[in-house]
Symmetry: D2
Subunit: 402 residues, 4 copies
């Protein structure tokens, strides 16, 4: 990789400024209007061709002679969390949920570092065209947190509008030491499915259970039964989770209610296991309702996250490039995470390899940095952005560097 693909001090300063601006102005998923406008203005300033895609998504395209076409994705949405980091530049922004409720907003998952790092890498590439050859598609994706953003960009014709890449790269900040990288070949993060299940019973006075079909007792049996999916139906080596995150039924202690509503969050690492688990959930919910002589429950999908499958060969290649940038001991192969990401959909949609890595954003001397989605989550931004920009360039440079 050429030495020319390094950020200058000016670019570093711009990355810091971008980060501080973004950090102070988080927006909700699929509502990243200001963020998109900001990205557009920055790409324009860098003279990079760009267009909107998927509403609040922005695509920048750097065409620089013959060579590979590759894509690099940065996600841009914030979270409905009240920032409690105490940082001078902490967010005080508020947003509005679909139902009109005002909520405090925070870049609680570090997507601000993703966008700033991508803009920094774009600046380096735009200014250092002699150091590389090919085409780089910068995908600023909205709505990662809700699993809606990648799908929206694809639905809006992302790969019709942008050059089709031979690989899609992406990265995510985590609270391990800045200057270090984690990768997972193959399944890197979990497929996720969220379901809402409504049980129907028959209301009766609490003193007359014989006139009821009790949906709470039915629900209790379903919850206990669902535990057997991971304990008895899957290969013990197949990581999977079936979590019931909420269960709501009844208003009064002496009235057996006529319904119960609960939600499930299902995590798996392969499509085969996912389908096995979903089928088992349906089978158990249906049969338990029959055991209660209750009507058929309703099972509705709230959302799903696709697989994040890192192509083993390309991941090996990128790992080597990252090791060359950060040092072998700073690049670590790790076990899959049970968290989810919609990044994988971008490459899967066109059958090209994905490579996704995690970069450290924490002060290496901090013994217990707060985790993503915590109100206290706060990357040490200079180190985090330095890592993010260099990792982006190392990954991109592997393909288009000369």
């Amino acid at each position: 990789m050429s030495h020319s693909l390094k950020p200058t001090a000016d670019i570093q300063a711009a990355v810091h400024a971008d980060y501080l601006h973004l950090h102070a102005n988080p927006e909700l998923s699929m509502q990243e209007h200001q963020t998109a406008a900001y990205i557009e203005s920055r790409l324009a300033a860098l003279g990079i061709e760009h267009f909107r895609c998927g509403g609040t998504g922005v695509v920048g395209v750097l065409r620089n002679g013959p060579g590979p076409v590759i894509a690099f994705r940065a996600d841009s949405d914030g979270l409905p969390i009240k920032e409690a980091t105490g940082a001078e530049y902490a967010s005080t922004a508020v947003g509005q949920l679909a139902d009109g409720t005002e909520v405090p907003l925070m870049h609680g998952c570090g997507h601000d570092t993703h966008v700033a790092s991508a803009l920094g890498a774009a600046a380096v590439l735009a200014q250092g065209t002699e150091g590389w050859s090919g085409t780089v598609v910068l995908v600023f994706q909205p709505g990662e947190e809700t699993g809606a953003g990648a799908a929206a960009m694809l639905a809006d014709g992302l790969w019709d509008k942008a050059p089709v890449p031979e690989v899609v790269l992406g990265q995510h900040v985590f609270p391990f030491a800045a200057g270090t990288i984690h990768l997972t070949p193959e399944s890197a993060m979990a497929l996720a499915d969220s379901l809402e299940i409504t049980l129907h019973g028959t209301q009766a006075h609490g003193s007359q259970p014989q006139d009821s079909i009790d949906p709470i007792v039915l629900g209790a049996h379903i919850i206990t039964r669902l535990q057997t999916i991971t304990s008895r139906e899957l290969d013990p080596r197949d990581a999977a989770v079936v979590t019931c995150g909420s269960f709501h039924a009844g208003l009064k202690e002496n009235i057996i209610p006529d319904r119960a509503v609960f939600t499930l969050n299902i995590r798996t690492l392969t499509e085969a296991v996912r389908e096995k688990v979903l089928a088992a959930v349906t089978r158990i919910v249906t049969a338990e309702a029959a055991a209660s002589a209750a009507p058929q429950p309703e099972i509705t999908t709230l959302y799903r996250f696709p697989r994040l499958f890192n192509d083993p060969e390309q991941t090996g290649n990128v790992a080597t490039a990252l090791a060359s940038e950060f040092g072998e001991d700073r690049v670590k192969l790790v076990a899959p995470l049970m968290g989810s990401e919609d990044f994988g959909a971008l490459g899967d949609a066109i059958g090209v390899p994905n490579v996704f890595w995690m970069f450290g954003g924490a002060d290496p001397s901090d013994p217990a940095p707060a985790g993503n989605h915590s109100p206290f989550f706060l990357p040490e931004y200079r180190g985090a952005l330095d890592t993010g920009v260099r990792a982006a360039l190392a990954g991109i440079g592997h393909y288009v560097g000369c």
Copy 2:
């Protein structure tokens, strides 16, 4: 019993008027301010000595020479139900819950017939003093629906302020044929205990159950376990119910919450069984929390209803008096009800016998009259009130008639 203890046409008309007024003006439990004022005005009009007790309770005392002192109770509260009977005189009243919420109100349990019948009986007694001898204490009790009213009157010194009776009588309307009476010697209605139980867990992301103590799974195991109290711990011949009327936990499908709250309603027919069930609930909840390595749950009592124990001897006597009034075939001994009443506390507090009966308020030709607490509950008021007044007088007359 003397013939003099019969309502005149004028009294019947007044009873109808009282009923229609009360029916249109229901009030919430322990908020029966207008109702109490109305009762006071009616007692005043009849020249009956009276005083407030327990806030919105009213006690009337008819002293009529030597003889037994007996008490007769009528409860006066309405319910937060929107009346859907379509009656001309249907309630359109609204009330305010403790939290300020406005709710529609309805005399959905027929307490309006109780008060009107008691006033009618009072009128007969007041006007027909030559037909009886003794003292009759009329207890217009508030707050039956919440189990708070009898306790409030007792706490306010009911039996210090009123003459101490040798028996306490009471009655309740039900949707069986007007002109008929049901009684149950000994345990007549259920003791009721309502509990709220808060389970404490440890919150974690849905993908990381290992960091959680899952209060929903804990709750499901508790609910299934609680079924064994009636199925395995009690004599099958001991009627008892443990109902979980509500269960609430969690906000999002992918976050394991840190708590779950559920409520129980427990019905038993004897104090011994009640104590066995309550001890079993505590034992199971405590042990299941230990099985989950969860902190000790909190168990709080929402309210309780005492036993309603009909003294067998006095109940036999009253049954005979009622049979003489309505005909043998119209007075029926029935099995205990699993519903609850706080009437029993009135006599139990001073160790005197209670006698409580149910009187029919439905048009005998109605094949399926709506039940108590239904928005469609509507006694055929002429028949109901005729039955209620006559039954009250028959019961009272058994003791003070000449």
Copy 3:
């Protein structure tokens, strides 16, 4: 009732001798060959017409002029229990189970007192024909313990061969004070159904649950679910029990077995509740198998006991007759027992009233006599037999006495 229907001292001595003989020679259900022969010889000695019915059943018929025909039943089988009473006349008998196993035998349920009392009553009736008029059918029934005997006699044409009675009487000894009687109008003992349920799964190594359908986990969910039948599906006032008395599955800790077998014993007091419970068992077992994706389990009936319904009017009449014999305070109406008896089938088969009572057989000064089916069960035989004979005569005499 005439004074002539009293045992003479000679008859009392014969009753004692019969008892001691029977007690020392118990036989298994439906194998009462010696017992039947003994009964025949005793009836022959009394000159009473008799015949075999249902294998080891014996029917004696006393025809004594015009008047009612009534039946009186005494059951005759012993139990496979090793007597541990230490009585001089204790049984040392052994019997052979269907599979050839030798077992010690004992009259552990007191049927020896039933037969001896019935023979004593027969002697009184046979010798005192001037004191009564009508026909008495003495039904010495085998196989009560297994629920097979009444059915066998009915199948063998009992009421074709014997005069059809207008009422069937019966009695059973219990360890309360001799000289006292307990009766229950209407449902007196439980209907019982015993089922064996075989769950089918798929065997796999314990380390590979994904290859199994685990019948033990399935069984555990069924057992917990069955608790909800009594806790949620029945009126709390309907006494019922669903007991799982055995559960067997698996040979090795590290092999998930391919089947589990468990047995249920179901007790109810009415046919309607019985059918509700049996339907619920089938529904739950079927649905839980479906929840496990397991094949349909097999549900087989091991045996059933019919209802024992005491006709209220005739029971009242007999109670009066018994009270006249033993004193009002010695005859007590009691709650139904959850134990079972096949006596009720005898009258139900021909639609005539049954009346069954329990007579005390314990020394009144014994504070804790051993219960029926205990190896220590031992009536104080003089008192027990005196009570049994007098009660039989009082009951019979009510119908045929003059």
Copy 4:
């Protein structure tokens, strides 16, 4: 590795003969008397120093000049399975269980190939001393199937009597294609713990659950609760199994028994997870007994298998040596197995690396060879033994080859 470390045709013939002899003469775990004698005779014929250790274990020591000391283990026990392979040389042997029961015996797990291959490798080493230098300790271990053999040899002072090696090697035949090798770095097979748990209740008649503490209902709640250990308490990525392989309680459907006994088989891949699971089992069993007001259950350990941890560095080295022998595409890194082995104890006891691999024993053209422990398990012995001998020599040769 020197070409001299190859079996000659004579040695191959001897390996075949050894195999056929061993196959026809399987013995039960820790009863391998004939097998041990046979091994001794073969080592003696080869002039190899040897001694008994751990009862039916045999240790051979080849000392051949300076150089590394390494150990190679072959396990020797058969299984109580009736061979159904139809092979001419199939076993018809019988053995005697501890309780005297006669059982058919079979080398159903292929340990005959292990011993024959080890003897073949020993022959090559003994005859080709010029081709290697160092000391090779051949450990013919009994009792692998019961987890007792490695422990017995260690308890008998294995590493006091034999030269202490710097690495311990071992191999196992599996029904994949002969000529191929599978290895797993780090955790290769599961730690296993087998427990027997006795629940104590209180016996009562099935109609009187109130007098019982029902151990079957308690057991059902424990079994359902145990499912939550893997579903809720472990990291979803930590493979673990908790299997209940047997559950036995009760003799009669109408008697609630006084106890239930069940067994658990627990599989984990690390000591940390193992301890977490065992602690959870104890916690749940204890708390559920408390929920039933039952006495403390008894938890006894039936046996345990230790970890099989392949030293990553040495496993890499051995994999390279095996790839050089069989070809890179014939040596495959595979996921851990949830089955168990006591091999790991041999190196762990003295803190030296273990390396264990699996060799293919099936005819490559067989689409569905029967699995280990099946009555139809039958390696294609020529290919299996060729693979076993060559793999043993490749592994050993890596350390002592020149």
